[in-house]
Symmetry: C2
DNA sequence: TCAAAAGTGTTCGTAATACACCCATGT
DNA sequence: ACATGGGTGTATTACGAACACTTTTGA
């Protein structure tokens, strides 16, 4: 076992698996590292936890620094603590997943010392990642696969107004399989948590689809009941 | 924020929510602390992680020190990291739940410096707990409530040979509700992972029940299929 | 008029639920 | 003989799965 880094008062860090949905693809946010170890490698965004912030606060801060965005849906999913996961010392990492609406091509701001740049990468086309980040990514993807069946997390990836086909698309990408259109719509609408809008999709060269929004009030009323999407 | 304790190279600890089933009751393992802070309070068993052991190894070691038992089913479920959760400094805690066969009245060995004694307590009758251990316990219980529906963890609480009524009892205690006997048996047997033995319960003053054991081989073959107990 | 996606119902099989009585055993 | 838990079947309902064609729109 190597020496613990002397500058670490508390040797734990946060790593984030940030999912985004855009152009029909499920993407994950990566950075290119600007520091040793693993300088110039791709990695999940992450950083040390400050001594005066909780784990949740730390995760939010890290994402805010990278994306400028504040109200992001995040959840802690696992803590990775193998002895040799960090080549310079004993650093455990608490992993979070986050779900992000991409829509308006929001600019990423990797103006942090440890990252050269940040970018989105399709999840089926990942480069080699630093540390044990490959494993963290995989466990994060598994987690949202299970979560999406029981909680309305898909809406976090979509704009406020979305079509049923877009919604189905998100489900298919996360679950990794095709779904039947009629069954999907029937079931999704049967929960009564989608509000049909008097508004249609625009700018498409075919029949415009109806837009819906997720009704958080109605969903809150269902709470306790196990929904199974 | 208080000063970080100087003796901590790595300021993280493990806490364990250890469930046991005995005499028809679901119990949790507690210790009585012998150290500040919270001296003389009841707490979940836990300790600092050593610099040369992984989190899983640490959790196993802590339980081995208390119970003398080695092959215990454990799983990490959440990491608690509020800034003020430890009154003496910044200490985050990685929480594990464990499931234990109680049967033969195995002796507990609380021969560790930090605990005066260890004992089992019915989960519906818990004392005030040190730190944020009440919250950790509750989140652990929630976790096994969800787990038991999809994974065969109930068997970890039972002796190798058990009756269907005992099994149902475990499910009812963890899920917190009564189940229908006929439906429970039909469903449980339909998975084909229980092996009926040529053996009956002994020492009871009524009709002896058939004993079963959990067939890990057959269960392994089902893997990938979502079982829903 | 063609291409591309939107939108829509029915059937079938399986799984979940509700429900009550007789049986075997030890005292 | 009685008390205690063991053990069993059926009918009803709800849910998931499979499946194909017509409609709308813009280019």
């Amino acid at each position: 076992m190597k020496e613990v880094l002397p500058q670490f008062n508390s040797t734990f860090s946060i790593d984030c698996v940030v999912f985004g949905f855009d152009e029909g693809e499920l993407k994950v946010l990566l950075i290119e590292r600007n520091e040793e170890p693993f300088k110039d490698w791709c990695a999940l965004p992450g950083n040390l936890v400050r001594v005066d912030e909780s784990l949740d606060q730390s995760a939010l801060r890290i994402l805010k620094e990278l994306t400028g965005l504040g109200d992001i849906f995040m959840e802690q999913f696992y803590t990775f603590g193998n002895v040799d996961r960090h080549p310079q010392g004993r650093v455990i990492s608490i992993a979070y997943y986050a779900l992000l609406r991409l829509g308006g091509d929001k600019a990423l701001k990797p103006i942090t010392s440890y990252a050269k740049k940040a970018f989105w990468k399709n999840i089926s086309d990942l480069p080699k990642l630093a540390f044990d980040h490959q494993m963290i990514f995989e466990k994060g993807l598994e987690k949202i696969k299970r979560r999406i069946k029981h909680q309305p997390i898909a809406f976090e990836l979509l704009p406020e107004k979305f079509t049923l086909t877009q919604l189905q698309n998100v489900y298919e990408l996360i679950m990794g399989k095709k779904l039947d259109k009629r069954n999907f719509r029937k079931k999704m609408l049967s929960f009564g948590v989608l509000k049909e809008l008097d508004e249609k999709q625009k700018g498409v060269s075919f029949r415009a689809a109806t837009l819906y929004k997720f009704d958080r009030r109605k969903y809150a009323k269902l709470f306790g009941k196990e929904i199974s999407f």
